[in-house]
């Protein structure tokens, strides 16, 4: 099995609007997969359908080789962190973690040892016997995160895991996600923070208004969304170079950028011709390369028009 999760034509409609519309995606096993999208795009709804918390109206879901709606037992191998956080406030930290581990079928004694190790690793060693409600919000989130991963799930599904964490703890979370991937586990997380996604994802999917905008390997997504902007830098910025860019219009719009320039090559313009022109100047070219678009830019390019959030109507729904 090389897909940890497959969605085929999955839809969810609420009275009045479609939250997820004919969504298909594939999450390769052993990778970190990001589901990206603006607020209200349907990320949480998708993950909740995968977790069998809400029923899908159409489509097929295969999770670790099984359909979670038909075979909920498969969900035991999943660790799920919901978007809205919360643990039992009156319980002791260790007890909360052990409780969730036991629900997943872990032996109580083993759960206790594992919980201790996790708490130490997350810097909560002194809080093992404290009641959850006495912890700061960030610490409570860490406790919940430990409760999510305590049974060493094959698949981690994290809904907006970074929200509410300070930079230090975001780093801790990042390391944990990478560590899980390195041990052959699969991590799926949703976010609207493109920079974090770019640092973490092997593959990703961008959705907006319930529809898939693009998906695939991060490398492929980048390649397919390269654009045609070129960066030029010289060893020494001479008057001749300045003069060249001041009057140059044949290749496309030019803009000064840092120590050099950027040219948005027009359709049909040949970068080799530009290169030849540059070689004739009185200073050596030290940089001539196609600029890689950031995920953020790709996202804005592709989703820009669709970011008006499409919030669900106020009805009690499931």
């Amino acid at each position: 099995m090389n897909q940890a999760l497959t969605l085929e034509g999955v839809s969810k409609r609420y009275s009045g609007h479609t939250a997820v519309d004919d969504l298909s995606l594939e999450v390769p096993a052993g990778t970190i997969y990001g589901i990206l999208g603006p607020n209200g795009a349907g990320k949480s709804t998708t993950l909740r359908m995968v977790m069998n918390i809400i029923a899908r109206d159409a489509g097929r879901i295969s999770l670790l080789g099984g359909d979670p709606a038909a075979d909920p037992k498969i969900l035991r191998r999943v660790g799920f962190l919901p978007e809205e956080r919360g643990v039992y406030r009156k319980m002791k930290v260790t007890d909360v973690i052990v409780f969730f581990a036991e629900l997943k079928g872990i032996d109580r004694r083993k759960a206790r040892t594992d919980a201790d190790a996790w708490l130490e690793r997350m810097g909560l060693g002194d809080w093992k016997q404290a009641k959850v409600e006495t912890l700061s919000k960030g610490m409570q989130q860490k406790v919940q995160f430990i409760a999510t991963v305590i049974h060493d799930p094959d698949l981690l599904i994290l809904d907006e895991p970074q929200s509410g964490l300070d930079p230090v703890n975001q780093e801790v979370l990042r390391d944990t996600m990478l560590g899980a991937r390195d041990r052959g586990k699969t991590v799926i997380f949703s976010t609207h923070n493109m920079e974090q996604a770019e640092q973490l994802c092997d593959s990703l999917c961008i959705i907006a208004q319930g529809k898939k905008v693009l998906d695939g390997h991060l490398k492929d997504v980048r390649r397919e969304n390269l654009g045609n902007t070129w960066a030029v830098e010289f060893d020494d910025v001479t008057d001749a170079a300045r003069a060249f860019f001041a009057r140059e219009t044949r290749f496309g719009p030019v803009a000064a950028h840092g120590d050099g320039w950027r040219i948005e090559l027009a359709n049909g313009a040949d970068p080799r011709a530009l290169m030849a022109e540059l070689a004739r100047l009185d200073t050596p070219v030290v940089r001539f390369e196609r600029v890689q678009k950031s995920l953020h830019e790709i996202f804005i390019d592709r989703v820009g028009g669709a970011v008006t959030p499409n919030r669900r109507r106020e009805v009690a729904h499931v």
């Binding site: 799920f80 409780f99 969730f100 409760a147 009690a316």
Partner: protein, 428 residues
């Protein structure tokens, strides 16, 4: 099913370890005991009253009053701490001469009051009692009895009859009360029977209500914190509900068990305790209840708890906050309150139509039957019928509640309308 056990364990241990459980378990019996002991102690207070008898009555009456008031208790009478003793001095001057002085003495608290026997007391049967406090019924009746006896003796003597003989002839009949059960006659006064019915009914009501609310709060916590979303990815919602209700119920049973043990200890030492706390002998006899009754009451309590716990679980799953829950709690509580509102009717006529009907309706039967069982021999057929109806209702309600629960704990957004609730039932 091991997850049910995990949920059960958590619900049970978290509650039993809590300080409120300890406090509730210890304080409630103390509170109940105080309700029992304090009135017995406070009853009338006992002590000595200093009175002056202003005697203008025919010769002998005044002396007789003083003698009767100050007489030592008859030998063999119970060593009753509530008993009043009197000191009385007789003055023979007319009231007008001594009145101001007596009022002064009362105000200076040298005496508690005075009794005025006018010259025509034997003919007109009117005397006066003035004291700082005339509301003490026990003191007033003792004084009244003494004066009556003295005046009656004077009248009898005038008519040529022997006082003691007549007293023997007109002796009041004292009515003893006791309830009859299937096992033959048993002790217990009318009041203690009422109290037992009331207290057992109240306990069942209180425990079902308290622990039902516990279920509600527990469901709400998991729903609002989204813990439910994580849990149902590991187990069935119905199993979660089952574990929760059983866990909370086990706490209730443990608490009742502890109280039962305390009660058992109390009755085994009832003689010592009644003496120690100055209660009338036999004041604790009411707690001697036949085992069969205890088992039946226990059955109604357990089934009643399951019924209301299921209702509360469904309510907790359907709403989004404690505030919302409060608006609807009354609807759930109503049938539980009805027997409490009709407690006098039920306990005073435990075999009458009101008690019988309320005892058969499953939603009112747990509390009603507890009251009836504690105060009368309810026909076994009625007990069995009521238990069977209740058990069937528990199953039906649990089935419906389970469906509402399953959909409700994962729902978001506003509170469902009745139509939407119906949709949930079809969906689940």
């Amino acid at each position: 099913m091991s997850e049910v056990m995990t949920v059960f364990r958590r619900e049970f241990l978290e509650r039993v370890r809590s300080r409120s459980f300890l406090i509730g378990t210890v304080l409630f019996p103390v509170f109940m005991a105080a309700m029992w002991i304090i009135p017995a102690r406070m009853g009338s207070g006992g002590g000595t009253r200093h009175l002056v008898v202003v005697d203008q009555a025919p010769a002998g009456v005044g002396q007789a009053v003083v003698q009767l008031l100050t007489a030592p208790p008859p030998p063999g009478a119970a060593d009753d701490e509530d008993r009043f003793t009197f000191t009385a001095e007789r003055v023979a001057q007319p009231l007008e001469q001594v009145k101001a002085g007596l009022i002064g003495r009362v105000q200076r608290k040298e005496i508690d009051g005075y009794v005025y026997l006018p010259p025509d007391v034997v003919q007109r049967s009117k005397a006066e009692y003035r004291a700082r406090n005339v509301a003490n019924f026990a003191v007033l009746s003792t004084v009244q009895r003494a004066v009556t006896q003295a005046v009656q003796a004077a009248r009898l003597q005038a008519a040529g009859l022997d006082g003691a003989q007549v007293a023997g002839l007109v002796k009041r009949v004292e009515m003893g009360t006791g309830r009859i059960t299937d096992k033959g006659e048993e002790g217990g006064s009318a009041t203690s029977t009422f109290f037992l019915g009331y207290i057992v009914g109240f306990l069942v009501y209180l425990m079902i209500l308290l622990y039902g609310m516990n279920v509600l709060r527990s469901v709400l916590e998991e729903k609002t914190n989204k813990i439910a979303e994580v849990i149902v990815s590991s187990m069935k919602a119905s199993h979660l509900m089952l574990g929760k209700i059983l866990g909370v119920g086990a706490v209730a049973l443990l608490q009742v068990g502890i109280w039962g043990a305390m009660m058992g200890f109390t009755t085994s030492r009832s003689d010592t305790l009644t003496r120690r706390f100055g209660m009338p002998a036999g004041a604790l006899d009411v707690v001697h209840v036949p085992v069969g009754t205890v088992v039946a009451v226990f059955g109604f309590f357990v089934l009643g708890f399951l019924l209301y716990a299921a209702l509360y679980a469904a309510l907790g799953a359907a709403v989004n906050s404690e505030q919302e829950a409060q608006q609807f709690q009354m609807m759930v509580m109503m049938p539980l309150i009805i027997p409490m509102a009709l407690v006098f009717r039920i306990v005073s006529d435990p075999l009458g139509p009101v008690a019988t009907v309320l005892g058969l309706i499953p939603f009112t039967s747990p509390v009603t039957m507890a009251m009836r069982l504690a105060s009368a021999p309810v026909p076994p057929l009625q007990i069995v019928a009521s238990l069977a109806l209740l058990a069937a209702t528990v199953l039906a309600v649990a089935w419906v509640a389970g469906k509402i629960y399953r959909v409700g704990i994962l729902s978001t957004g506003k509170r469902p309308t009745l139509a939407e609730l119906g949709q949930w039932l079809r969906m689940a």
